[in-house]
C-alpha cells in the first residue's frame, strides 16, 4: 500500500509539473557536470606534473598542502590575479571571445556522454539501457542531454572548437599566434577526419549513434576486442585533437613561442588551458564509451550498479596512458604529422570501415 501511495505522488509530479521537473533535473545535472569536469581538469594538471616528475625521477610539486594536493588552487589564484597583458592592434571583441569559446565548447562536448545506465524511477520495466524500457515512470539518463545522435553531437561541437583556436590566434595580431593558429587548425581539421572514421566502427557494430545503445551493445564483449584497430586510431587521433605530445605542434615551445595563445595572459590563457584538459577527459570518456564498455563492470563478477565508478576508472586509466605517452615519444615534424594523418590514419580508418561493414552485412 505504501508503495502504491508513493507511485501516486510521483506520477502526479510526472503529469502535473513535468516540464519544471525536467528542467530542474537538467539544471542539477548541469551544475554537477560542470563542477566535476572543472575539478577534474584542475587536478589533471597536478596529475600531469606528478606523473612527469615520477617519470623523470623527480618529486614534483609538494609544497602547497599535503603532498602538493592544493597546488591546483594556488595555480588558479595565480592565473586569476596575473596581469592580463594584451597586444596592441588586436581585434578587441574576438580576442576576448575566443578563450571563452574554447573552454565552453570543451565543457559542452561532454553533454551527451552517458556515465551510467538509465535508471527507471517508479516505472515498470526496471533499469535498462533504453529510454523506451521505462513506461509510466521517470527515466533518469546519466548524461546531461539525451540525444539519439549523441556521438554526432560531440563531433559537431569539436568542429566548432576549431574556431576558438583559429580566431584567438588571428585576433592577437601577432605572427607567432597566427602561425600557431594556422598549424593547429589545419591539424585539428585533418585529425577530425581520422576521429570520425575511427568511431564509425563501433557505430556500425551497434547500429546506433545513441551512445547509451552503443554501450548496451557491448554487453559481454567490449568493442575494443572487435575493433582494436579503430581503438588505436581513435586514441592516436584523439591525442592530436587535444594537442598533446607527440602531436603538440600548435604550441611547439621552441619554434612558435606558445602557438595560438602566445599573446594570451592570465585567465585568457587559463580558459584555453582548462579547455585543453577538459578535452583530454572528453577524449578518454568517448574512448571508454565506444570501446571499453562505458559504465559496465570490467569483470563479470563485479557489481554493475557501481557504473560511474567503473566509468571513471576506465577514463582515469586512459588519461594515465596519455600522460605516459607524453614523456615517451618525441614531437613529430609538421609535414610528417600531416602525412601521418592523411596517408596512414585515414586509409586505415577507411579500411576498417569497409571490413566492419562487410562483417556486419554478412552477420
Amino acid at each position: 500500500m505504501a508503495g502504491d501511495g508513493r507511485r501516486g505522488v510521483i506520477l502526479a509530479i510526472g503529469s502535473g509539473i513535468n516540464v519544471p521537473l525536467t528542467l530542474l533535473i537538467a539544471l542539477v545535472k548541469g551544475v554537477l557536470l560542470l563542477v566535476v569536469l572543472l575539478t577534474t581538469a584542475a587536478y589533471l594538471v597536478l596529475a600531469e606534473r606528478k606523473v612527469s616528475a615520477r617519470i623523470q625521477l623527480r618529486i614534483g610539486p609538494n609544497r602547497v598542502g599535503p603532498g602538493g594536493f592544493l597546488q591546483p588552487a594556488a595555480d588558479a589564484v595565480k592565473l586569476i590575479f596575473k596581469e592580463a597583458a594584451a597586444p596592441e592592434g588586436r581585434d578587441r571583441l574576438l580576442f576576448e571571445l575566443a578563450p571563452g569559446l574554447a573552454a565552453a565548447m570543451a565543457l559542452f562536448a561532454f553533454a551527451t556522454i552517458p556515465i551510467n545506465q538509465t535508471i527507471c524511477i517508479n516505472g515498470r520495466g526496471g533499469a535498462g539501457p533504453l529510454s523506451a524500457a521505462c513506461p509510466g515512470g521517470l527515466a533518469l539518463h546519466w548524461d546531461l542531454a539525451h540525444l539519439n545522435i549523441g556521438l554526432l553531437f560531440i563531433l559537431a561541437i569539436t568542429s566548432i572548437g576549431v574556431y576558438a583556436i583559429f580566431i584567438g590566434g588571428w585576433a592577437s595580431n601577432s605572427k607567432y599566434a597566427l602561425l600557431g593558429a594556422l598549424r593547429s587548425s589545419a591539424q585539428l581539421i585533418s585529425y577530425e577526419m581520422a576521429v570520425s572514421f575511427a568511431v564509425i566502427g563501433p557505430v556500425l557494430l551497434s547500429g546506433s549513434l545513441d551512445l547509451e545503445r552503443v554501450v548496451g551493445a557491448q554487453h559481454g564483449l567490449w568493442f575494443v576486442f572487435l575493433q582494436p584497430l579503430a581503438f588505436l586510431l581513435y586514441l592516436t587521433a584523439g591525442l592530436a585533437e587535444t594537442n598533446r605530445l607527440p602531436f603538440d605542434l600548435p604550441e611547439a615551445e621552441g619554434e612558435l613561442g606558445a602557438g595560438y595563445h602566445t599573446e594570451m595572459a592570465g585567465m585568457r590563457f587559463g580558459m584555453y588551458f582548462v579547455g585543453e584538459y577538459v578535452n583530454m577527459v572528453t577524449v578518454a570518456a568517448i574512448a571508454t564509451t565506444l570501446f571499453l564498455g562505458g559504465w559496465m563492470a570490467p569483470l563479470f563478477f563485479l557489481p554493475n550498479w557501481l557504473g560511474p565508478i567503473w566509468f571513471a576508472a576506465k577514463v582515469g586509466l586512459l588519461i594515465f596512458v596519455m600522460l605516459w605517452i607524453r614523456w615517451t615519444y618525441p614531437r613529430l615534424r609538421y609535414d610528417r604529422l600531416m602525412q601521418f594523418g592523411w596517408k596512414v590514419l585515414l586509409p586505415l580508418g577507411l579500411a576498417n570501415i569497409v571490413v566492419t561493414a562487410v562483417f556486419v552485412a554478412l552477420r
Binding site: 545522435i149 554526432l152 553531437f153 559537431a156 576549431v162 583559429f166 580566431i167 588571428w170 594556422l182 587548425s185
Partner: protein, 177 residues
C-alpha cells in the same frame, strides 16, 4: 518551446543581418556561423536531431572553417558601402524577394488552418510516427537511397566535379617537380 523558438529564430535573424551588414569580412563569416548554429537549434526544436548535428558538422564546421581560413589569410579590407540603387543591389533584392515567395509558397503547400487556429500539414516521409518507429538516421537514409536517389547521385557527382576541378586548378599552377 515557443520561447526557445523565439530566441533561436531571433539569433538566426541577427546572424543573417550581420552577414550582410558587417563591415569586416571576417565578421560576416562569423555571423554566418552564428546563423547556421541557430538554424541547427531550430532543427533540434523540430526533433530533427540528426539534421541539426549534420548542419553543424557540415556547414558551421567544415564549410565555414575554409571560408574563415581564406578570409583571415587574404585579409581583405573593410568593404566599401553600397549605394542603394546600384545594379547589384537591385538584382540582389529581386532575387531575395523571388526566393522568399518560392519558399513561402512551397511551405504553405497542403497546409490547412483549422477553426481553432492550428495548422495541419501533409504527412510526409519524416512524420514523427514514422521517425519514432524506424529512427531518424534510418528514415533519412532510406529516403535518400530510394525516393531521392537521383538528386542524391547528381549532387554527389557535382561535388566530385568540383573536387576534380579544384585539384586541377591547384596543380596546373605549379611546375612538375
Amino acid at each position: 518551446m515557443t520561447a526557445l523558438f523565439g530566441v533561436a529564430a531571433g539569433i538566426a535573424f541577427l546572424g543573417a543581418l550581420g552577414v550582410v551588414l558587417a563591415r569586416r569580412t571576417l565578421y560576416s563569416a562569423l555571423s554566418l556561423i552564428v546563423n547556421m548554429m541557430a538554424l541547427a537549434v531550430l532543427f533540434l526544436l523540430l526533433d530533427a536531431q540528426f539534421l541539426a548535428a549534420v548542419q553543424v558538422i557540415v556547414y558551421a564546421g567544415a564549410v565555414m572553417v575554409l571560408f574563415v581560413f581564406i578570409i583571415a589569410l587574404l585579409s581583405p579590407g573593410a568593404q566599401e558601402r553600397l549605394r542603394p540603387l546600384e545594379l547589384r543591389v537591385v538584382v540582389g533584392a529581386a532575387a531575395a524577394v523571388l526566393f522568399t515567395v518560392v519558399v513561402v509558397r512551397l511551405t504553405l503547400n497542403g497546409i490547412t488552418v483549422t477553426a481553432s487556429g492550428h495548422f495541419h500539414g501533409v504527412i510526409g516521409p519524416f512524420a514523427p510516427a514514422l521517425v519514432d518507429r524506424h529512427g531518424q538516421v534510418q528514415t533519412l537514409g532510406e529516403q535518400l537511397f530510394t525516393t531521392y536517389l537521383l538528386p542524391f547521385e547528381i549532387t554527389s557527382l557535382l561535388l566530385l566535379v568540383a573536387a576534380v576541378g579544384a585539384v586541377h586548378l591547384a596543380r596546373s599552377r605549379r611546375p612538375e617537380p
